[in-house]
Amino acid sequence: MTPDLRTAVGDLRLANPVLTASGTFGYGLDLEDLCPPERLGGIVTKGLSPLSRRGNQPPRIAETAAGMLNAIGLQNIGVEAFCSDVLPELRRRSVTVVVNVFGESPAAYREVIARCERAAGVAAYELNVSCPNVSAGGIEFGHRPAALASLTAACRAETGKPLWVKLSPNAPDLVGTAQAAVDGGADALSLINTLRALAIDAVARRPVLQRGYGGLSGPAIKPVALRMLWEVHRALPSVPLVGIGGIETGQDVAEFLLAGASAVQVGTAVFRDPAAPLRILGELERFCAAQGVAAVGELIGGLQWL
């Protein structure tokens, strides 16, 4: 029996639940020789802003125990280059494309979405709200429920396509921000983004990263991601969720599905193994077959709590 791998995040149907996470798979074609994007549930682009961005000075990455820090600074080619140079080929290959959007003001987010709306081939948007909101004095959008609700509503006004909001694990009130995003019109929530962290070079007596703090990702954060996912799922059981954080194996995917995710994103694992998303998909299929799971949908939210 071949397990049915199809899933849906709200209205968005996906061939399988394994997507790539923003910032770890380029714009979808960069690793097509090693991991064909059309075989995945979808790809989430590197975060796109209205104009291209240079990002932070190096060093930008540091390895930690079973994890890594990054402070890339949202370097990207800009939405225009993406829509004209990359999107047509993704569309030709029928890749399910989720555009990860960010900006320093609601207007910037709207601009990115508006540009994509004029192109063809975008399946959904994911708002990265872990960036400093210039109008709110640099506090992250994702940290203040009111700001997040109005940002989401502003983006909602630009598109009829599925709108995902990617939650920050550093927000003071996880469920409150989740609720705010839904109130603002989000169709689904993806979580988690990276944990704010610090690596220190004891010899140089300086942070390892040029920017000081960085975001922690990788297997180290998986137990925190699962906890947050389950907390949001219990609080808002009808909201579709996309699970992210330290996924390395098919069994990890099953854990995220059980905790309430309808799909998942694979991030840092790609750096260890560029074909990780495909490998993980195969492992998930075998896991389902071995456990007598006829369709991955059976797993979603299926965790038996206490």
Binding site: G23, T24, F25, G26, D30, L31, D33, L34, K46, R54, G55, Q57, P58, P59, R60, I61, A62, E63, A65, A66, G67, M68, N70, I72, Q75, G218, P219, E248, T268, V270, F271, R272, D273, P274, A275
Partner: protein, 271 residues
């Protein structure tokens, strides 16, 4: 471009070269084709710590029977390289390769080709030397290290330079072998002595490369430096390994490098 692959590899041998450096030879069943300056991302263990692969330049690739043997020279500096040094012959690993660009070996318009290596910067330079020797293209080679015991593979370097009538210049900081002082000094002395140098290809520690960058910029020399930036993916998607170019842009060195012409590089490498 040679297609990159995630190659299944087995350890053929691990052998000490100096007190801190060792030669690692890997055998792959699939063909491995690479040019000097290219590198691979090597998995250091099966478990999640260390999490990331490590970047190593090719010191050479040769076909042996049915398989291909990849030679690397590795300095033990941290947990990944310590694990690699302890690998037993037969152990399995994965090598994502070939990655990045390579040195420009051909198309010299005038003057001599100078290869410069500092310390564990030797692998791509040795690879280049042996390719040039096999092709019969002349070059000189300068190899510097802290002390005599850290100069290694001298016989292969001597054979390669001799094959094309080139010079092998050895330097040690403490003067325990060859010329005393840094390897860039040896190059400067040749220039001062009137040698026409058409191009410099170099790999080594940052201070050496920056000195070469300054020298090349000051003299208008054609020079290529192989840079070492911390890397997570090696394939251009994490944007972790960026190098600042002359125009202020930050480009991933795993894709646009690791070899850069000095003239493309930003201030840090030229002044």
């Amino acid at each position: 471009m040679i297609a990159r692959r995630d190659l299944a590899a087995r350890v053929a041998s691990v052998e000490d070269l100096t007190r801190t450096c060792f030669r690692l030879e890997l055998t792959c069943r699939e063909p491995v084709v690479a040019v000097p300056g290219q590198f691979g991302m090597l998995r250091c263990g099966a478990e999640l710590d260390p999490l990331l692969r490590r970047a190593f330049s090719f010191a050479g690739v040769r076909q042996v029977g049915e398989g291909w043997v990849v030679e690397m020279h590795i300095k033990e500096v941290g947990k990944g390289t310590t694990l690699l040094r302890r690998l037993a012959p037969g152990a399995r690993t994965s090598l994502l390769a070939p990655l990045g660009n390579g040195f420009t070996l051909a198309g010299l318009s005038g003057g001599r080709l100078a290869l410069v290596a500092g310390g564990i910067g030797l692998p791509p330079v040795l690879f280049a030397a042996e390719v040039l020797a096999a092709e019969g293209r002349p070059f000189d080679l300068f190899f510097g290290a802290a002390r005599a015991s850290e100069l290694y593979e001298i016989d292969r370097l001597a054979a390669a330079t001799a094959a094309v009538g080139g010079e092998l210049g050895l330097c040690t900081d403490d003067g325990s072998r060859g010329e005393a002082g840094v390897v860039t000094g040896a190059l400067e002395r040749r220039l001062a002595g009137g040698r026409e140098i058409g191009r410099v290809l170099a790999c080594g520690p940052d201070p050496m490369l920056r000195a070469l960058g300054r020298l090349a910029t000051a003299r208008g020399l054609d020079a290529e430096l192989s840079l070492e930036e911390p890397m997570a993916c090696g394939v251009g998607v994490c944007l972790g390994c960026v190098v600042e170019l002359e125009d202020g842009s930050l480009v991933p060195s795993c894709k646009e490098g690791p070899v850069f012409p000095v003239r493309r590089l930003g201030e840090r490498w030229r002044s």
